[in-house]
Amino acid sequence: MMKKLPLEQLPAFLKGISETKTLVAPVEKGGQVNFDLWTEDSTLRLDVLKTVKSAKGAFFPQVEDIVHFQMQGKNIDIHPAEVLTEDFVLFGVRACDARSFELLDRVFLSDPTDPFYAARRAHGTVVTLACNRPEETCFCTNFGIDGADPAGDLSAWMTEDTLYFQANTEKGAALVAGLADCDDGEITETQNSIREILNKLPLSNLNLTGFEGDHLKERFDDPRWEELSRGCLGCGTCTFVCPTCQCYDVKDFDSGNGIRRFRCWDSCMFSDFTLMAHGTNRPTQKERFRQRFMHKLVYFPSNNDGIYSCVGCGRCLEKCPQSNHIVNVIKTLGVKEDA
């Protein structure tokens, strides 16, 4: 059974949640909208389709302590960092980001399970929001994602004056237990209009043939990587705004009294990514660039039942300083294959 909430009651609803749980939602800070702690003073921006960073930080933060070594003279005490024990709610996630969690689960929850990630997933409730106004950079449809029907523990649709909820799990249902019931049909019109736009999107019909696992060697050796990677600056913008990139580096910080070992997001675009004693196996930006897209479009699907490690959120299309992104790669390498 669906629930509904008049929009003007949304602040009170969020306040209610925040009283017992940490609430994370798209809020504006310094002119940018990102998922961040919601408080009554926050500027909630549900109208913004794409936060700068994806929502993955709620489960996989950019920087996270792992263990702390405390020096006592010449002795060392070891204090592992604690995993999350408190519940939180992640509100306003779009369909693409919601799908990214499933992809991250495949990495972090498969053996060996990442305890920090697992704890956050267990304690987090994801509330998604349908995409009323998809944008030209959206291409989620290529990956079987329906912006009109987002997943998550609780899905939401917003009309001009009302917020509709559909619980998909018990965690989700618990959040909206106190709201008024309503009929499923009340959101049909909204869904239809969303789907109509989704069909019109310029990038909604990308040809992904040729990226399956059995073309690995061909794709890897494709001479066009050279040309494609030329403009790449080797920055990590695409990686850090991406909902599915999950690489991290483990670093030590020597505070003088001890060592804090933490992990932080890493980018395969960086020159020192997976740098080893012997040097690097990706010596130029061509190899690094290839790695990122081979991983998303070839390696990941080969290892994960054909699922691409891209959800088509389009953030990299908007943010790449050189406009050199995954759609270029798909079109350059894919279309030629087709022809």
Partner: protein, 663 residues
Amino acid sequence: MQKIGVFVCWCGSNIAATVDVKAVAEALKSEAGVVFSTDYQYMCSENGQAMIRQAIREHGLTGIVVCSCSPRMHEATFRKTAVSAGLNPYMVEIANIREQCSWIHKDMAEGTEKAIVLARAAVAKLHKNAPLTAGTSPVTKRALVIGGGIAGIQTALDVADAGFEVDIVEKAPTIGGRMAQLDKTFPTLDCSACILTPKMVEAAQHEKINIISYAELDSLSGFVGNFTATIRKKARYIDEDKCTGCGVCTEKCPSRKGLDDFNMKLNKRGAVYIPFAQAIPNVAVIDPEQCLKLRTGKCGLCQKVCSAKAVNFEQKDELIERQYGAIVVATGFKPIDASAFNEYAYNDSPDVVTSLEFERIMNAAGPTKGQLVRPSDREHPHEIVFIQCVGSRCTEDAEKGKPYCSKICCMYTAKHAMLVREKYPDVNVHVFYIDARTPGKNFDEFYRRAVEQYGVDYIKGMVGKVSVEGKKLHVQGSDLLNGEQVHINADMVVLATAIEPDPTARALGTMLTASMDTNDFFTEAHPKLRPVESPTAGVFLSGVAQGPKDIPETVAQAGAAAAKVIGLLCKNELTCNACVAHANEAACNGCSQCERVCPYGAISYEEREIRSPEFRGVRRIAVVNEAVCQGCGACTVTCPSAAMDLKGFTNSQIMSEVDAICR
């Protein structure tokens, strides 16, 4: 991981009175890497050093920290101690717990706590130390002396006598310099030429000395032991090898407009000339500004009369490139331009002359053949006024003049006064002086002789104004001792003008990267302890180029500079500074910024094959010449990629110290 020993010195009670040395030694035991820590009354004593040596051997220490007095005091001592126990000398760090701790703090707890922090910082730095070995560079066994005056000649002779080749580069057509222009020398009144010219001849005939006259240093590269100099030998339009110095050309030259520099422009000379009779090389030179042939293409009389066929109007400047191990600057001085001092009517009357002009007038080989006459009318003067300190001892903010005392004027003025009175007892001589400065062997006796024996009228006070009144010069001055104004109607006025470094010195200083003071005198490496060396290694100072001095001092300094040069050239190779900059090839951009800030020109660039994660291929890389680098570190901060680091004071060493201090 290092195995570090910590040695805390009591320095008797100097440290132990305000620092609990035992507590410091104990606290340091718990520092990572410290395997031995102790204290002792006097670490620098033989017993203390023996203790260090023993600990190094027993505990297999890889480095030691000595907590003691300033490293400026005993760092060298403890480095030697370490070496004698088999450690690299750069594996020693000093924690300065005396000058910078026990002596400035009164409270024991405070002092002890700070001493522990300082010792920890030294340990932290030592963890990042690496053994350093000073490099070596070969020595070219030839010296370059710039300037062929008495300073340059003496230095060259001394160096050559020790068996090393010396080149003298002299910008004038002859060596001899200022001393050649002098008539007599104080305090002995012996003839200047009589003592100088034998030296000039000796230099010319010395098999190890090569005189390059009428030449200037064009450019210089390299460093101590390995300089490469380019010398520009100016065209003199006379073939030096052919000219016999017979002087026929100088007599036949129809041009008579050139001013005779050697005689302070008091007379005219031909366009082709030999500066003076004893010139070395005794070869004519053509002044292209005056020569009719060179200016208009007509004449060539000298060429016709030269039986040696030495005149060559086609001659061009010649560039000579030579290697040198050492360079001596002996560029000397010139009197300042007296025309700024028109209160003494220098511009208004030819009878107001400078001392050096007076020197030429008194000289038997001078423009008046040694007859004392007024330049204006060649009449014999009866009243001569000497004015001291013209342009010396002025404040820096004064409109004109120099802030320093020119040192020689008191004595040469006494000499002039005495010579005049000796030769012409009818002439009254007045000397206006501020202070009569005569500190030197037999100097004050000399001055007193002028007053007592020769009756020179010394007036303490200065001349305020000299005005031309008909044929006379009205001198108005103040007699400070009598408290009265003095008015003298003089026939001549002689100005004891200040001396200043030769105008070529500044450009030369830049070329040599040798520092200069604001007056363009070359700076010595240490004003007391290294007075004949420039801060730039391999560059030595001789004579007035370094500061005002008289002939005996100049000769003494010339000899001292020669001794330093000989000391350098004796070595087959030089040990370099071990704490030098070094560029990490993998990170160097080759951007040239470090080169720009290096005061020694120690950085150059090479194309090198690089294989790093970021770059594969050939790239321009900074290379530090370890023989030249003095280890200031200017380059390290300019380098944006921190590719440039300074051994002994690396980024990580200094940051470790910071970390330990702030911990």
